[in-house]
């Protein structure tokens, strides 16, 4: 063929992530081309582009027509992807089960999604069993990182996400709509206490998502920016914008998670009433989607916000106070007669509850101090810290 195949054009534009309109129109051209329609490779590229562009109604119609015409793993996979993006986890999982696992073309993607599904259901052992013994391409690295994060090994997760991203970028895939590895890495970096790195990664993803111009990827990256920002007012506005975009994109799975994060952040700001409203929305959405792990997290957070007790336990508040006073973990452990590991554990909870990303931020906020004052003067009395 003298002319370049439209499906290849679409895939190229998707990877580069700068011409949304061009990518969608090339994909639809490929779907209208009789030669391309016969090639599973072309169809998988065209459908994949439509899904990553958020043109889900078109992807649904085309994949359903193809299913009648020439069924195959690539069509099933595309339909599984549409189900996943709209937050129908049950159908996503049953469609995924129909794909033959021995197909080399689709295996890495099937594996990544299976891992993510199992993690969302809290089956970490099952997820680990799916991982291959040998190291593989970017999608395997990503799957390993997802499991590491769920296992509470954020350092490994961070390295995994970054390695996945490096491989993708080397292959010219810079569009976060294909795989949002930067925001996931940002989450891991936050859990490691490196808020600077987290914010840098999130901002980078946000810039790339804005170039692509699809609301889901943009909303997701904004949420990462908000999550990595210190809790000083602007972060709430950014969360609101992220939620609006994810709503527009009908991305219920992401929406549930971001709503939960937003609730946590509102709680950290001492806005308990607003937080419980957001938790209710998060809960309804997560229930709808069927993400059990997230549901548990939301229920826990909502309980924490609903009780009028201060957000930090007395021990956590004491640890936070000592950190602010400049003590190191080891010194705190000696003073409070506990293991260093326990101090670390308390601190992790403090960061999560206050929506902080690490020691430096904790020291920078007056929040912990104010909070501790409330605790000391009227322990057990209802009412949050002053704003």
């Amino acid at each position: 063929m003298s002319q370049e195949c439209s499906a290849d054009v679409a895939a190229g534009l998707l990877a580069a992530g700068e011409d949304w309109t061009g990518a969608v129109e090339a994909a639809e051209q490929a779907l209208a081309c009789p030669a391309c329609r016969k090639s599973p490779r072309c169809m998988s590229r065209a459908l994949g582009t439509l899904v990553c562009a958020g043109e889900l109604v078109a992807a649904d119609a085309h994949s359903l027509a193809l299913l009648d015409e020439s069924p195959g793993d690539h069509v099933l996979l595309a339909r599984a992807c549409v189900a996943r993006r709209t937050g129908d986890l049950a159908r996503h999982s049953s469609l995924l089960a129909l794909v033959r696992p021995d197909d080399v073309e689709v295996r890495p993607l099937v594996r990544l999604w299976t891992v993510e599904l199992l993690v969302a259901r809290g089956d970490l052992d099952g997820a680990e069993a799916v991982l291959p013994a040998r190291h593989g391409g970017p999608l395997v690295l990503e799957a390993e990182a997802v499991v590491a994060m769920a296992r509470g090994r954020p350092q490994d997760a961070l390295e995994g996400h970054l390695a996945c991203g490096r491989t993708l970028v080397e292959n010219g895939v810079v569009n976060p709509a294909v795989l949002p590895w930067r925001s996931r890495a940002a989450r891991a970096a936050l859990a490691c206490g490196d808020s600077g790195e987290a914010l840098r990664l999130a901002m980078e993803e946000h810039a790339a998502a804005a170039r692509w111009g699809e609301p889901r990827a943009l909303g997701w990256s904004l949420a990462a920016v908000a999550g990595a920002s210190p809790p000083h007012g602007e972060d709430l506005v950014v969360y609101e914008r992220a939620i609006r975009l994810l709503g527009m994109a009908h991305a219920r799975m992401d929406l549930a998670e971001v709503l939960c994060d937003y609730g946590d952040r509102l709680t950290a700001h001492g806005k308990q009433a607003a937080a419980s409203e957001i938790y209710a929305r998060a809960h309804a959405t997560a229930l709808d989607v069927g993400d059990t792990v997230l549901l548990r997290r939301i229920e826990e957070s909502a309980r924490g916000a609903a009780t009028a007790e201060p957000a930090l336990t007395p021990v956590e508040a004491e640890v936070a106070r000592l950190v602010c006073a400049g003590l190191r973990n080891k010194e705190i452990a000696v003073r409070l007669a506990m293991a260093t590991r326990t101090v670390e554990l308390h601190l992790t909870r403090v960061y999560r509850k206050l929506g902080l990303s690490g020691r430096r931020e904790l020291r920078a906020t007056r929040w912990a101090w104010l909070h501790h004052e409330t605790l000391r003067t009227d322990r057990g009395a209802p009412g949050g810290p002053p704003e």
Partner: protein, 409 residues
């Protein structure tokens, strides 16, 4: 199961399918149900829907909502024998969505045996598109049956807004308190958004458009020809300075409008995209797709863009077109305002650096007090500079400022 029980059940199943991203299966289900004799208005987005219609016309309605297969949809709408209010309403609606305005008008003039209110309402719709909002207002104020009240109010508000009668539009809107969950409330949200946009209250307008979009998404409507809420949201977003959101909304509508192929949707999306990017060539292209008031608005925005950029000659040419074509007072006024600014050859280029800085902050929604704090000036100085900015830009105040400036990405 009774007929209405069955209908409720089907309706619920349909919404559930759409919620889970199974648009095509939802359409199939609705198509079969209507072929079996069930009420179409409950199974597809069909504002007004005065009654049942032919199956072939219902398929055309579905195609229009989906935004694919325009030629077939037009053919079924065109050849549907008119036997009742429902078929007439649905067929004319499809013709309007498909951009077949002349055909729709002919069908409307030749209609016999159609209820008076159904005929009036569709006439109002057609008159707005033909660039005669005053005739539309007359048709839309003659009273309708309860079922059509929401859609009649929404279209009347739109016609009044088009005619520049914003106070009257506001009064109609306030008397038509929306019933929650009314099937036609998307139309009302859209009309309110358009009015707010004309009043310069873009941030609130944006919320209305997004709510309209949420309701349409629940029905699985993607075609901007049905309601161009994304293009309108893009205008509102560009006004508030959120150019990324503006671009996203405009692009999505542009792709969908090209897929459907009716010129109006393409023109509106191009207009929105051009404003989000400050692209005068795209705005010129938009004008070629638009008619009536919508073409005038695009022409006005083009002249404004060129003026702000200092391309006085081209700005003058488009202002002249605008004045010659203006059919109602609001566009004559707009042309006069542009002309007086052209006469002074002012505009953005005439601003001093300090004035420009202040103008940009004001455009971004900062209050005078905030600007003063940010630039380390006293409040009085900020006010003084802003007055000069308003004079040089030929605008009346902050909302005008938003429109007069070239968006910079």
């Amino acid at each position: 199961m009774t007929n209405s029980g069955l209908l409720d059940e089907l309706r619920r199943t349909r919404f559930e399918l759409v919620r889970n991203g199974r648009w095509h299966e939802a359409d199939r289900l609705a198509g079969e149900a209507v072929a079996g004799g069930l009420e179409p208005g409950a199974l597809a987005y069909l504002p007004g829907s005065p009654g049942p219609c032919r199956t072939s016309v219902f398929r055309a309605v579905q195609a229009a909502n989906r935004g694919t297969g325009r030629a077939e949809a037009v053919a079924s709408a065109r050849h549907a024998e008119q036997v009742d209010d429902g078929t007439f309403w649905q067929a004319v609606t499809v013709l309007i969505h498909a951009g077949e305005n002349a055909l729709a008008h002919r069908r409307w003039t030749a209609a016999t045996g159609v209820s008076r209110d159904v005929h009036d309402l569709l006439g109002g719709r057609i008159m707005v598109l033909r660039g005669d909002p005053r005739a539309a207002v007359r048709l839309l104020t003659r009273g309708v049956r309860p079922r059509l009240r929401v859609v009649a109010a929404a279209w009347l508000v739109q016609a009044l807004t088009e005619a520049g009668e914003l106070d009257r539009a506001r009064a109609v809107l306030e008397s038509a308190r929306p019933v929650a969950e009314h099937p036609d409330s998307a139309e009302l949200h859209f009309a309110r958004g358009r009015l707010l946009l004309a009043e310069g209250r873009s941030a609130v307008a944006l919320d209305e458009f997004l709510e309209c979009g949420r309701l349409l998404a629940a029905w699985g409507v993607v075609n901007p020809a049905v309601l161009p809420w994304r293009s309108s949201a893009a205008l509102a977003a560009a006004d508030t300075g959120d150019l990324v959101l503006a671009r996203i909304c405009a692009d999505k509508d542009l792709v969908a409008a090209r897929r459907w192929g009716a010129p109006r949707g393409i023109g509106l999306a191009l207009h929105a995209s051009a404003l989000a990017r400050g692209d005068d060539v795209q705005l010129e292209e938009a004008i070629t797709f638009l008619t009536a008031g919508e073409a005038l608005r695009a022409r006005h925005d083009l002249a404004q863009l060129l003026l702000a950029r200092g391309e006085i000659g081209r700005a003058r040419k488009h202002t002249r077109y605008l004045r010659e074509a203006a059919s109602c007072p609001q566009w004559t006024r707009a042309a006069d305002a542009l002309a007086s600014r052209l006469l002074r050859k002012d505009g953005e280029a005439a601003l001093s650096d300090q004035e420009r800085r202040i103008a940009l902050l004001a455009r971004a929604g900062r209050s005078n007090r905030e600007i003063a704090a940010e630039l380390g000036l006293v409040l009085r100085t900020v006010e003084f500079h802003l007055t000069a900015v308003y004079r040089k830009m030929g605008v009346a105040g902050r909302p005008g400022l938003r429109r007069a400036f070239v968006p910079s990405a």
